[in-house]
């Protein structure tokens, strides 16, 4: 089973992961599970049970221009900065913890959308266009 998880928050372009999930509704076979999560921390691991392919979509911040799509191999995530606190579990730490527990799905892909500093209500036009493009990339990848 494939599960696609959009990660985000209500703040500006950070919601781009949720927007991709919205855009995927009705465009994929019914057995593919679509989920939008708000900063799940460790509980992301609960969404890795009983699936063999996990696709994560999240906003990322690197040096690339806003709107750039990035595909990350989980093994390439920098684990050195992953913090574990009562309030926050970095995605890399969640994935390492899942690996220690033996519950990391056989296949895991991470798609990132580079976002700029847009924190106002709603998505910026650049993030919206990137979400539309990424939704098509994912449809092609799982079809």
């Amino acid at each position: 089973m494939i599960r696609i998880v959009g990660l985000g928050s209500p703040f500006g372009d950070d919601r781009v992961g949720w927007r991709v999930i919205e855009l995927l509704q009705g465009r994929l076979p019914q057995e593919i599970d679509l989920v939008a999560l708000d900063r799940p921390g460790a509980s992301l691991i609960n969404w890795m049970q009983e699936i063999d392919h996990l696709i994560l979509v999240d906003a990322v911040s690197s040096a690339a221009p806003p709107g750039t799509l990035i595909k990350v191999d989980p093994a390439q995530l920098d684990t050195s900065g992953g913090r574990l606190t009562s309030h926050d579990l970095a995605l890399s730490t969640s994935l390492r913890l899942a690996a220690s527990l033996g519950c990391l799905p056989a296949r895991a892909d991470i798609y990132g959308v580079e976002i700029g500093g847009h924190t106002e209500e709603g998505l910026s036009a650049v993030a919206e266009a990137a979400a539309v493009e990424l939704a098509s990339v994912i449809v092609d990848a799982v079809s």
């Binding site: 928050s9 691991i45 609960n46 574990l84 606190t85 913890l97």
Partner: protein, 431 residues
């Protein structure tokens, strides 16, 4: 005698929230200076609230903390209802307790299993612990997930929930949603019972300390969303008299405020609650405590982890009890007509007593706000505990060992430094 000055910098202390550092100066095997420095910029939430309408307060204060937003919402709702002299009925009071049980459950489950357990089982983090104790970590994740589901039932979502308002809730869950939740809670209860036994058997340092316990106390129930403020040295006051007995002061090293009761540090949180409210435990939770080899009241701060485990059991038992009698209300909230005045509220956040005061004008605009979070109340106690614990441990130990013990002591309080104003930079100077 050779003089040695050692300075260790750990840029971020793990497994606590917020940013802080510990300054430690040891001379001739004596602690000459010990200070917990908190340098997260102060959060001007109290000022942000001024001029806002009363109904905006509930959503704003939820933003103070990502892990205990319900605590902030419930203390604020109680204080504003106190201003407007309205008393929510039994349905609202029961559902606030259920809502709050969800927050205790997710916060305590995360702390016990993912943050504190590695200290007592000898691992540097939950990631390494998970390889040898996968079932323990999985239990923590399941219980945390259950807490989040319970929050979602009444709050609409688990992060910064939006379901609560002054006067009650915006929406009452349907019976079918409540029935599904009851099923989940009932099936988790045996696991919560096992957790209490597991926590009692964890290897804990035996470190008896004298400290004042402070918590809410309710007429019949284990304290959560309402009660009087009591201590084990005779304090028993209504919530509105807090400022007459508790003082906050600035110290130069910290952007959080230090609290004192009669000039003395004091403890708030799970251990203080359990120490003061053993007779308010549900019968099945009390039986589990009696089966353990730990007697209460306890003056061993490390029993805080056990107290959290007991409170996870309490949260599930209480949520089941209250949801079993669920009936759809005619309205999930009271209508509110604002008036000028001052009101007070206090509830038991996962980390301890959370006290609010609001002054509101005749148009329902906030004129002033005061918020006293649990971590700032515990700060002086953490310093006193560190001083004692490090001497008991032995100051001759190498810096790395001292740092680990100091971190273990601080983590034991599950401090939320962001609420109180990221962790641990240890600066040791030895002579």
């Amino acid at each position: 005698m050779t003089e040695r000055s050692v300075s260790i910098h750990v840029p971020a202390m793990t497994r606590v929230e917020g940013e802080g550092s510990l300054r430690l100066r040891i001379e001739n095997d004596r602690i000459e200076e010990l200070a917990l420095d908190i340098f997260e910029p102060p959060r001007y939430f109290e000022k942000f609230l001024e001029g806002r309408r009363y109904h905006e307060v509930i959503d704003m204060v939820a933003r103070i903390c990502g892990i205990c937003p319900i605590a902030y919402q419930m203390s604020a709702a109680q204080a504003l209802e106190n201003v407007f002299d309205i008393q929510p009925g039994q349905w609202v009071r029961d559902m606030r307790r259920v809502f709050y049980c969800g927050e205790w459950l997710q916060s305590h489950a995360l702390h016990v299993h993912l943050l504190a357990a590695p200290d007592f089982l000898g691992f540097d983090s939950v990631v390494s612990m998970a390889e040898e104790h996968p079932d323990t970590v999985r239990r923590g994740l399941r219980l945390q997930g259950l807490g989040n589901d319970l929050i979602r039932l009444l709050g609409g979502r688990s992060v910064h929930p939006v379901g609560a308002c002054v006067g009650g809730f915006f929406r009452a869950p349907e019976q079918a949603e409540v029935d599904r939740m009851l099923g989940q809670l009932r099936s988790a209860l045996p696991e919560a019972g096992d957790l209490v036994g597991w926590a009692a058997a964890l290897p804990m340092p035996d470190d008896q300390q004298a400290f004042i316990n402070v918590s809410l106390r309710h007429e019949t129930d284990y304290p959560l969303a309402e009660g009087r403020i009591v201590s084990d040295d005779g304090l028993d006051i209504p919530v509105n008299e807090y400022e007459q007995h508790f003082a906050e002061e600035h110290r130069p090293q910290s952007t959080a405020l230090f609290s004192a009761l009669g000039g003395q540090p004091y403890l708030v949180g799970p251990l203080a609650r359990l120490n003061l409210n053993m007779d308010r435990l549900p019968a099945s939770s009390l039986a589990l405590v009696k089966q353990s080899n730990i007697s209460f009241p306890s003056s061993n701060m490390f029993h805080s982890l056990f107290a959290r485990a007991v409170e996870i059991h309490v949260a599930i038992v209480e949520a089941i009890r209250l949801l079993e009698d669920y009936q759809l209300p005619s309205s999930p909230h009271l209508e509110v007509t604002p008036n000028a005045g001052t009101g007070f509220g206090a509830t038991e956040a996962p980390r301890g007593l959370l006290w609010h005061r609001y002054e509101v004008d005749g148009d329902g605009l906030v004129k002033s706000a005061r918020i006293v979070p649990p971590t700032s109340q515990n700060q002086a106690r953490i310093e006193a505990d560190l001083r004692r614990s490090l001497v008991n441990f032995g100051l001759q130990h190498p810096d790395d060992a001292l740092r680990l013990r100091a971190e273990t002591v601080i983590r034991n309080y599950d401090p939320c430094i962001s609420c109180a104003t990221h962790f641990l930079k240890l600066d040791v100077k030895r002579q």
